[in-house]
């Protein structure tokens, strides 16, 4: 493992599991935004390309005490990536301001080592060439390049929207990074200037996106010191940029593996200490 990189801007999410109804709008929005190909038979979930997946969580109790929760899982954008460190050809790395783990599919040789490494199953392999129904290729966006068979891809927090938001500032002559009132450096992109496609689509506001290091951002306020916040598999030390919040303890407990006598963890290191 290489040394963890800290950035003054850290894009992240707070996903409110008490709000998610599991409708799937985010998943469809993601596919359309990122030029994923549809699949006629999507029944084998281990072969379905979805950068964002909504999992169903159960409190394990019998009717009528049963509760259900839905957990959208984008790439967790780990600060300590299990994946990028193992890639033999540097097709994926976390090296840019904002802390998004990149995935450069033209570099990828398709060894799938990163998929074996990622405990979140956030990485997907192109088992076949992508095929769109005739004409549907016209609805592809120019923002994300197409991927052939044989390469791995994953959620990039709609990185292209970050790039576009920066260009908007640049043409207005605004510096992308500024020193804010708290004396720290923040991105001058307004909070709604860069939002992922999934967060944008959700009518329930279950996905909140922003800079985890910027106290003015809602995502910061939602995760900082919030005892209801947790991250997936926190104890692995992946230091992910995706936080989940729920008032239900059973939901939070499903965020990590626990020995039977262990207490549900309080969110540790909610924000990186260094800035």
């Amino acid at each position: 493992m290489s040394a963890k990189k800290e950035f003054s801007v850290k894009w992240g999410m707070a996903i409110d599991l008490d709000k998610c109804t599991g409708c799937g709008a985010c998943m469809v929005a993601c596919q359309a935004e990122n030029n994923l190909a549809p699949q006629a038979d999507a029944s084998n979930k281990r072969r379905v390309m979805n950068w964002l997946v909504v999992y169903e969580l159960s409190n394990g109790k019998a009717f009528p005490d049963h509760e259900v929760a839905y957990l959208p899982r984008p790439c967790q954008q780990c600060a300590e990536q299990p994946c990028a460190t193992v890639c033999p050809v540097v097709a994926t790395e976390r090296n840019e301001e904002g802390g998004i783990v990149s995935q450069v599919t033209p570099r990828c040789i398709g060894c799938r080592y990163c998929m074996a490494a990622c405990p979140y199953h956030a990485r997907y392999f192109n088992w076949f060439d992508p095929i769109w129904p005739k004409g549907m290729e016209k609805a592809l966006t120019p923002d994300v390049s197409m991927r052939p068979r044989g390469v791995v891809e994953k959620c990039t927090f709609c990185h292209h929207r970050f790039m576009q938001a920066k260009d908007v500032l640049r043409t207005k002559g605004i510096d992308v990074y500024t020193r804010a009132v708290d004396g720290k450096h923040h991105c001058a992109i307004p909070e709604n200037g860069y939002v992922t496609s999934c967060a944008e689509a959700c009518p329930n506001g279950a996905i909140v996106f922003g800079d985890l290091n910027n106290p003015a951002h809602k995502v910061y306020q939602l995760v900082t010191g919030n005892d209801n916040a947790f991250r997936l598999l926190e104890r692995l030390g992946t230091d992910t940029a995706v936080y989940y919040i729920s008032s239900r303890e059973w939901v939070r407990r499903l965020g990590d593996n626990y020995l039977p006598d262990e207490e549900t963890q309080k969110p540790q290191q909610i924000l990186p200490k260094k800035h």
Binding site: E97, V104, D143, M163, K166, D167, V168, R170, T171, R179
Partner: protein, 237 residues
């Protein structure tokens, strides 16, 4: 490897080996000639523009600025090649006067070209299939805004030989990276790679890295970042 120890007549071989050098060298020379001279022509096709176009006329004679045709959009993206509509703003009709009998060949060419353009494209509402010399591969996100604003922030003001000097025209800034096409009244054909479909002038990554990975750019600008990030996603999409 375990040797089978029965060495026989080792001495005879030398003379035989020597005469093998001639075909060997011949082969090598043929291969070298093929590789250096024949192969590049095989790999690249030459594609002419749909009709004669002169940057020179537009810049020198009409006095157009680059940005008149190649501009930024409001969302910060760059238009690149102008659309037909943009061209038609001026070229709704043929603007060049019909050359008289004593017109130069050049004047004739210009007139014919414009006529071909207006009649073949403008009046038919058909977009021009320009052959671009510098088209970004799909996997590259190239921001003109970033380069236009950020590079010059320093390189117009900094000390030393990397100072580009105060430009006397905005065109000068464009010419920092782009060839001075306004001097070229001939349209060089676009050479397309048969395998990759990239033009010959498409930059390789190492050329981008001349700046992006330049050690001089790894200074901290006081805002916790480097001047030209070389992370993959800075340029790739």
């Amino acid at each position: 490897m375990e040797e089978n120890r029965h060495c026989t007549n080792g001495g005879k071989s030398r003379s035989k080996c020597a005469c093998g050098a001639v075909p060997f060298l011949a082969g090598a020379i043929v291969a070298l000639a093929f590789g250096w001279w024949v192969f590049p022509d095989m790999l690249f096709s030459k594609e002419a523009q749909p009709f004669f176009f002169s940057h020179g006329v537009h810049v020198n004679d009409v006095g157009a600025a680059c940005a008149d045709c190649h501009s930024f959009r409001e969302d910060g993206s760059f238009t690149g090649l102008p659309s037909l509509a943009a061209c038609a703003d001026c070229h709704a009709e043929v603007m060049t006067a019909e050359p008289g009998p004593d017109a130069t060949a050049e004047q004739r060419t210009r007139y014919e070209a414009e006529k071909a353009f207006v009649e073949g494209y403008v009046s038919q509402g058909k977009e021009v299939p320009w052959r671009a010399h510098q088209k970004q591969p799909d996997n590259v996100f190239f921001s003109h805004a970033a380069h236009f604003n950020k590079c010059f922030d320093c390189h117009l003001t900094m000390q030393g030989e990397l100072n580009l000097g105060k430009p006397d025209s905005p065109q000068k800034l464009c010419m920092t990276c782009h060839p001075s096409l306004e001097k070229l009244d001939k349209n060089p054909p676009v050479e397309l790679n048969a395998l990759t479909d990239y033009s010959r002038t498409t930059m390789k990554m190492w050329e981008c890295e001349k700046c992006h990975a330049h050690p001089g750019h790894f200074y901290n600008d006081g805002k916790g970042r480097t001047a030209a990030n070389n992370a993959c996603s800075t340029c790739h999409k």
